[in-house]
């Protein structure tokens, strides 16, 4: 049957037959690089058009519908337009930091792609500390935002960056704790082990109510970490123009935009991997017949289906909840989510020791 791992294996076999090992590794690295860049560009285009279409659908209007069939090439046209725009650096700005910030945003987004399993046996890098790696790298996101805000020498940018910094670091605590509750249930930080442990049911079903609490906390925290509404104080249009990227134009702005959307994809992919089984099809305990039928649906479809469902949920939030004020936002994290996720983690641990989960 057609599958990603089949393709990658046959490429690997063909290359290792044709070339010597060193050359094979180099060619594979080039292929991997091209694939990641392609995925990046594809995700950017798809997610922007999806955001606009979902918004239009929620507000009972048409959305973009001029460029291409049903407006599907709108984001491609926008990207081309941004590419030929002038990139300005304001006179008051710190030139080096101003131009370095988009680099960091993109590098962080791209490094986070490495441990994600896109399909069965199809993963860039299955390292033994996968989950720790993700939480370590994703906390560097805030550096690029603070850097952009400070270097711009603009009051809107600086305030946006400050708010965003406080927000991202705060919500990282409860995101980390809810990720940990799945690590407790699995006993491993390796992404492939976490997926394998869900072969007889996803953790959100197997882990009873504590897993559901952890899932809800995780979704709230990552919505805040990716600066999406209702937590988009960093770029609250009505108060701060565009927040930390007010001064950015042309491709530098597009890179921030792209990194933001790719980050949404990554956190949703991690949520899908931890709580909804990643590429693992929907299995119920020992119902061998049912599980076998579910296995006929390709694993990549399962992964992308779950991830895009979570992305849809996060886009849905945007049109459901009004924006919070900064003190309400920090109160929500420090006085509610942090104690709740801490107690929840202990509950999960006790549950796992008593073997109450399935």
């Amino acid at each position: 049957m057609w599958s990603f791992s089949g393709i990658s294996n046959s490429i690997h076999e063909w290359l290792s037959q044709t070339f010597n090992p060193t050359l094979t590794i180099i060619i594979e690295m080039v292929i991997a690089g091209v694939a990641v860049i392609g995925l990046f560009a594809g995700l950017g285009l798809v997610l922007v058009i999806m955001e606009r279409k979902v918004s239009a659908w929620m507000q009972i209007r048409l959305g973009p519908n001029r460029v291409g069939p049903k407006g599907m090439f709108q984001s491609l046209a926008d990207t081309l337009k941004l590419l030929v725009k002038e990139g300005l650096t304001p006179t008051g700005a710190d030139k080096l930091l101003f131009n370095l910030a988009p680099f960091i945003a993109m590098i962080v987004a791209m490094l986070l792609m490495a441990p994600i399993a896109f399909a069965k046996d199809f993963q860039l890098w299955d390292l033994n500390i996968g989950v720790l790696y993700v939480s370590a790298i994703s906390s560097m996101m805030v550096i690029s935002i603070l850097m952009a805000g400070w270097a711009s020498n603009n009051k809107y940018s600086l305030m946006g960056a400050m708010r965003s910094g406080a927000q991202i670091v705060s919500y990282e605590l409860s995101a980390g704790l809810s990720v940990l509750s799945i690590v407790v249930l699995t006993g491993s930080l390796r992404v492939s082990d976490i997926i394998q442990s869900q072969a007889d049911g996803w953790w959100i079903f197997k882990g009873h109510i504590p897993a559901v609490i952890a899932f809800v906390t995780f979704i709230i925290a990552v919505t805040a970490e990716t600066n999406r509404a209702p937590f988009d104080l960093a770029e609250a249009e009505s108060e701060l123009t565009a927040g930390f990227h007010t001064e950015y134009s042309g491709m530098k702005f597009a890179l921030f935009f792209l990194a933001e959307y790719v980050n949404v994809f990554i956190v949703c992919a991690i949520g899908a991997t931890l709580f909804l089984g990643g590429w693992m099809p929907f299995h119920i305990g020992h119902w061998a017949g049912f599980n076998h039928v579910m296995d006929y649906i390709p694993s990549s479809l399962w992964f992308f289906g779950k991830t895009f469902f979570l992305i849809f949920v996060i886009m849905w939030f945007r049109w459901t909840f009004p924006r919070l004020r900064i003190d309400q936002l920090l109160n929500l994290e420090w006085k509610y989510l942090l104690p709740i996720s801490m107690v929840n983690l202990l509950l999960v641990t006790a549950m796992a020791i008593l073997k109450w989960h399935f």
């Binding site: 792609m113 711009s152 020791i353």
Partner: protein, 131 residues
């Protein structure tokens, strides 16, 4: 796909950080390439008005790098303290099955200290942002 890379690189040693270095180089190269292309394609008509900081149409008043509310910095420092405590949970979360109930009570003690610190900063008013 680059489980390809791993099979090539002796997958027993998954501590090999080569893939992350490759990703880093690819990302840097891509951004540098895009910046260069847009620099070549885009127009370069710079005027002093255009290069001013944007402040919604009015004149820019002074430098933006002024003292900010201390609360943001306090939040950042509290984050550092609490995040270290969260990081301490990682080794426990992986090994708790071996440690069993003894480990659980030890962690309860740790969480107790954590909560004492939390209640202390709550009483001190470090989390009062409204004022």
């Amino acid at each position: 796909m680059i489980h390809l890379l791993q099979t090539g690189l002796n997958s027993a040693d998954s501590g090999s950080f080569l893939p992350v270095a490759v990703q880093f180089i690819i990302a840097t190269g891509l951004v540098a390439f895009l910046m260069f292309v847009t620099h070549m394609l885009g127009p370069k008509r710079k005027t002093t008005d255009k290069l001013q900081n944007f402040s919604s149409g009015i004149e820019t008043h002074g430098d933006a790098r002024q003292p900010m509310a201390i609360k943001y910095f306090l939040t950042a420092i509290l984050f550092v303290l609490f995040d270290v405590e969260v990081i301490f949970f990682y080794p426990y979360a992986v090994n708790f099955k071996v440690l069993g109930w003894n480990g659980f009570w030890a962690v309860m003690l740790f969480v107790g200290f954590f909560l004492c610190g939390f209640i202390y900063i709550l009483k001190k008013g470090a989390l009062k942002w409204e004022e």
